[in-house]
Symmetry: C2
Subunit: 519 residues, 2 copies
C-alpha cells in the first residue's frame, strides 16, 4: 500500500475517465475533461521540448483560465515545480521573486506582458517566455512563444509522466509578507494531494463531482486555495472567470453556470451579493469567504439573501486550509459562531500559547499565538533564515493572536505585529476596525499602534468616511463596546487605506503615514 505515491499526477486522469463530458468554463471557452486532459499531456510534451527538467521551476503570471489550469497539472505531473506569481506585485518585486526561485520558463497572460517585460530585467535565468494565447501582445519581448501554437504542434499522444516521489516539490508560492521580503513556501505533491482530500471531506468544504465551483480567489493566491486540484480530481465543473472579473460578471456566472460552490475574499462577495439580490439560487450550497476576517455586515447580507456563506481561514504556509467556520451539528440553533474563524480541519494539529509557551485556556477570551502543524503545514521557508523564528520543533508559528472557545472555535484577535500594547495590556486592532466599519458613516477603517511615551503604544484609526461623522460620534459608537482605554486617540480621514499586494491593509504603510513626532 505504502509504495503508492500521493502525487498530483494521480489527481489528473480520473476526471477524463469518469466525467469525460463535464466542462471547465474559461471566459467564453468550454473545455471538456477529455479535451482538458489531452491538452495537459500536450503541454507536458511542450515543457519537455522547452528543456524543462525534473525539479526546475516554471512560473506563471496569469489570471484564472483554463490554460493556467493546464499548467497546474502539466508542470507538477511532468516533474517540474509550478510557481504562481502574484501579478499585483511591481515589476521589480516580480523580478526579484523570479530570480530567487530560479524560474526557467514563464507563462504569462497577454495583458501582463508589460509587467513581465519589466520584471525580466531582474531575472536573467528565464530562458523562455510563453504567452497564454494565440497572439503576441505589443509588449512581448524578443523570442517570446505562443502557448496555443506550441500546444498545436505538440504530439497528440499521452506524455509518459515520470514516477515521482510524493515528497518531491510540486508547487511554490511566495508568502506575501506584510513585513520584509517575500518568503518561499514549497508544496510537496503529498501536501497538495492530502489537502485535496481534506477539501472533499464532508466536514470541511465537501467538494464533490456534483459541484460546479467558481474559484474567484486568484490562481496566484496559494493555488486558488487548492480548489483547482481538488475540483479536477473529483470531476467537478469549474468556472474560471478570466482577467479581472467585475462583480456583475461573477454574479452572472453564478446564475448562468448554476454554480454550487464559490470562494473569494469578503470585498468580492460584498459586490457580488448585491448583484444576486432577488435571484433564486437553488443550486448554490456554499460560498467560502476567506483571506480576511468575515465582516458582520457581509454575513448579515448573506443571511438576508439566504446565501450560505461560510468563513474559512488559512495562509500560504498551510496550503492553505486550517479553519472552517462550519456550525457543528449539535450547535445548530444555538449562539452564532460564524464570525469566528471556525474549527480545525481534520488532519491538522493546533496549539495556542502565551508568551511563556504555555497552552492558554479555551475560554473564548484568553489570547495566545496560534501554532500549527500537519501534513499540509510548512516546516520552513526553503533556505530562508527567517525559518528559524517562524518554525519551532516542527510547529509553524502563525503570528496570529487568537482565542479559542470551549467548542474549539478559534477567533483571530490580531496579528502579533499589529496588536497594540497600551499600558501593559493588549488592544485588538481588528476588533476596533470591525466595530468602526459597523458605523454607517464608515466605509473602511484601519487601526494601528503608534509609539506613546507613557503607554508604550496607543491606537489610532485611519478611516474612509461615507458621510460626515465627528470624532465624538465615532467615540460614542465605540464606547458602548470596548473599555475606554481601547478607544483610538485619533481618527484620521483618508480617501483610501493603502493595501498590500494581496488586498490586505498595509499597516506598515499606515504607520509610516502617521506623524508621530511631537506626541
Amino acid at each position: 500500500m505504502d509504495a503508492d505515491q500521493l502525487t498530483v499526477t494521480r489527481l489528473l486522469d480520473r476526471a477524463a475517465d469518469l466525467f469525460p463530458d463535464r466542462v471547465v468554463v474559461s471566459g467564453a471557452e468550454r473545455i471538456t475533461y477529455t479535451d482538458f486532459t489531452a491538452r495537459v499531456h500536450r503541454l507536458a510534451h511542450v515543457l519537455d521540448r522547452l528543456g524543462v527538467r525534473r525539479g526546475q521551476r516554471v512560473a506563471t503570471l496569469a489570471w484564472n483560465g483554463h490554460r493556467h489550469l493546464e499548467l497546474y497539472f502539466a508542470v507538477p505531473s511532468s516533474g517540474a515545480v509550478l510557481h504562481t506569481v502574484n501579478l499585483r506585485l511591481t515589476g521589480g518585486q516580480i523580478g526579484e521573486i523570479l530570480r530567487h526561485a530560479g524560474d526557467v520558463v514563464v507563462f504569462v497572460d497577454p495583458d501582463q506582458a508589460g509587467l513581465l517585460a519589466q520584471a525580466l530585467r531582474d531575472a536573467p535565468d528565464v530562458r523562455s517566455v510563453v504567452v497564454l494565447g494565440d497572439e503576441l501582445p505589443p509588449e512581448a519581448g524578443e523570442g517570446w512563444l505562443l502557448y496555443d501554437r506550441l500546444l498545436g504542434d505538440a504530439p497528440d499522444t499521452p506524455f509518459p509522466m515520470p514516477e515521482l516521489a510524493e515528497t518531491e516539490p510540486a508547487a511554490t508560492c511566495y508568502s506575501s509578507a506584510t513585513t520584509g521580503r517575500p518568503k518561499p513556501v514549497v508544496y510537496s505533491h503529498r501536501a497538495i494531494y492530502l489537502h485535496s482530500m481534506a477539501l472533499a471531506m464532508a466536514d470541511t468544504w465537501a467538494l464533490s463531482e456534483a459541484d460546479t465551483v467558481l474559484p474567484v480567489v486568484p490562481m496566484f493566491h496559494v493555488n486558488a486555495w487548492g480548489i483547482p486540484f481538488a475540483a479536477v480530481w473529483l470531476g467537478a465543473g469549474i468556472v474560471l472567470p478570466g482577467p479581472a472579473p467585475s462583480p456583475e460578471d461573477l454574479a452572472r456566472l453564478i446564475v448562468e453556470e448554476r454554480v454550487t460552490f464559490g470562494a473569494a475574499v469578503p470585498t468580492v462577495w460584498f459586490g457580488v451579493l448585491e448583484h444576486l439580490r432577488g435571484i433564486p439560487l437553488p443550486d448554490l450550497r456554499m460560498l467560502v469567504s476567506g483571506g480576511a476576517p468575515l465582516p458582520p455586515a457581509l454575513l448579515g447580507l448573506a443571511d438576508e439573501l439566504d446565501v450560505p456563506l461560510v468563513h474559512s481561514y488559512g495562509m500560504t504556509e498551510s496550503t492553505p486550509l486550517v479553519l472552517v467556520g462550519r456550525t457543528k451539528s449539535h450547535l445548530r440553533g444555538g449562539p452564532d459562531r460564524r464570525l469566528r474563524q471556525g474549527t480545525l480541519v481534520p488532519g491538522l494539529r493546533m496549539s495556542v500559547r502565551d508568551e511563556s509557551g504555555a497552552e492558554v485556556p479555551r475560554d473564548g477570551a484568553t489570547p495566545g499565538e496560534l501554532w500549527l502543524r500537519g501534513p499540509w503545514v510548512a516546516e520552513g521557508y526553503g533556505d530562508d533564515p527567517r525559518s528559524a523564528t517562524a518554525f519551532v520543533d516542527g510547529w509553524y508559528r502563525t503570528g496570529d493572536v487568537v482565542n479559542v472557545d470551549a467548542e474549539g472555535y478559534v477567533k483571530i484577535v490580531d496579528r502579533i505585529a499589529d496588536l497594540v500594547k497600551s499600558g501593559g495590556e493588549w488592544i485588538s486592532t481588528v476588533d476596533l476596525e470591525n466595530a468602526l466599519m459597523d458605523h454607517p458613516a464608515v466605509v473602511s477603517a484601519c487601526v494601528v499602534g503608534v509609539p506613546h511615551p507613557r503607554w508604550t503604544e496607543r491606537p489610532v484609526a485611519v478611516i474612509v468616511p461615507a458621510a460626515e461623522v465627528t470624532d465624538d460620534e465615532l467615540r460614542a459608537h465605540l464606547v458602548a463596546r470596548f473599555p475606554k482605554w481601547w478607544l483610538p486617540d485619533d481618527f484620521v480621514r483618508v480617501a483610501a487605506v493603502p493595501l498590500t499586494s494581496v488586498g490586505k491593509f498595509d499597516k506598515r504603510a499606515v504607520r509610516a503615514m502617521y506623524p508621530v513626532a511631537g506626541r
Copy 2:
C-alpha cells in the same frame, strides 16, 4: 509538511477535543469521547504493563463494543498491531491464525472464552488473555485477566504515545480465502489514515461529525470496513450493537439512536428493513450494503420503504473500500445503475484485463479481471508465497471478473475461480443465482460448475426452496433471461447452502457435494 506522519494516533485526540460529549453507545452503556479517550490512554498503560512492545501483535476475539473500539485505538497508537480474529472460525483455525500472527496477548469477549480456550492449544506464544468485562466466564483458563479491573488499576494520566512512522503496521486481518489457508493482510498506519479520509469524502460515504453511525458489519471483518477509525476521528456518534444482535435489536437502535448511517451485508438489511416498515426515519441518510452483491429484491424493498441504500464493494486486501454505488449527479433520473458495484473511490486506480493482460473495452459487457492499486491496497500477503500470483508489478489481482460500462460503473460478474467454462464460453454463476433467487419459490440458490466430458464444465444449481417448484418451472423462469446453454443441467434441492466463515456460499463445499461420477 512531509515530516508529519499519518498515524492512527493522530485520529484519536480530535473527538475529545471538539466533541467531548458525543457518545459511543455500546449495548446498555453510553461513553462520551472524553471518557473514551481517557480509557484508550489507560488501556495503553495496560498494554505496556503486559509487556506489549512496538510491532508486537495483539489479538481480539470480540463483537462490536466499546472495549473493542478502545483496542482499535490503544493498540496501534501505542505502537503494537491490532489483530482482529473472526470468531466464526473454528477453534483449530483460530489457533493456527494466532500462531501464524505470533500474537502475544488476546482480548476476548466473555461468550467467546470457550472458543479461545480451544484455540490456545495451538497457539503457545500467547502470554496473556484478557476478558473484556468484569467477570471471568466459567470457560476461562488459568491466569486470565479482566479488562475492567486492569483499566481500573491503570494510571489516569495520558500515556506517552510513541512517535510512529506512518509505514509501521497498525493492524492485520486474515483474508477469509474460500480456497486454501487464510492469508495475512497488514494495514499500515498510513493506509488506515488515508482510508479514513476517503470514507469522509463527499463522493464516497461522506462520513461526518453530524452522523450517528451503526457499523453492523463486525469489527472482526476488515476493521468493520474502516468505519470505527473514521467515525472516532470525525467525532461522529457511534452505535455498537454488542454480541449477535437480532434484526429487531438493530431496527430499534436505528430508531431510538437516530442513526444516520449504517453498514452491513445484504442478509442483515433484509431482516432489519422488514422491522422498519412504516416507521418514519428522517435522520437516516445512508445504509451501505456490502460484502456480497446487492440483491435486486433488497434494493426494491429499500426503495419501497424510501430508505437510501447504497451498494459498496471492497475486500480485506483493500482496507476495504474500492467501489461505491453512488449515482453520479449527471445520471440522476437516468437508467438505474445501483445494482452495479459502483465507481472507483477517489485515490485508487483500477485496470480490467483479459487473459492476455490487455485492457478490455468499457462497454458494459466485455468481462475482464479487476486489478487494483493505491495507497490502501495491499502489495503482498506478509511473507506468504501466494503473494507472487495475487500481486503483480504493484497491482493486486482481485480474482473478480467484472465488466465496466461507459460511465465507469463496475459490475462483478463472478469470481474467476467460480466462473463456469462451457464449450469455450464463460457462464456467470452469480447472474444465474440472482435470477433464481428472484423466483418466488426460491429462498437461496448457489450455482457451481462441475466437470463435463464434452463441454469442459456445466453449471448445476443447488437451491433452498420456499415452496414446491419443478425443474421445468425453474428452467422456464431462466430461459427468458439467458441463452439456452447457460441453463443449469441439474437443480439440487437442499435445506441450506453451506457457507464460509464470512457468510458467503462455500462453493468448494458445494462442488464437493455434487456427485460427478457417472456423468
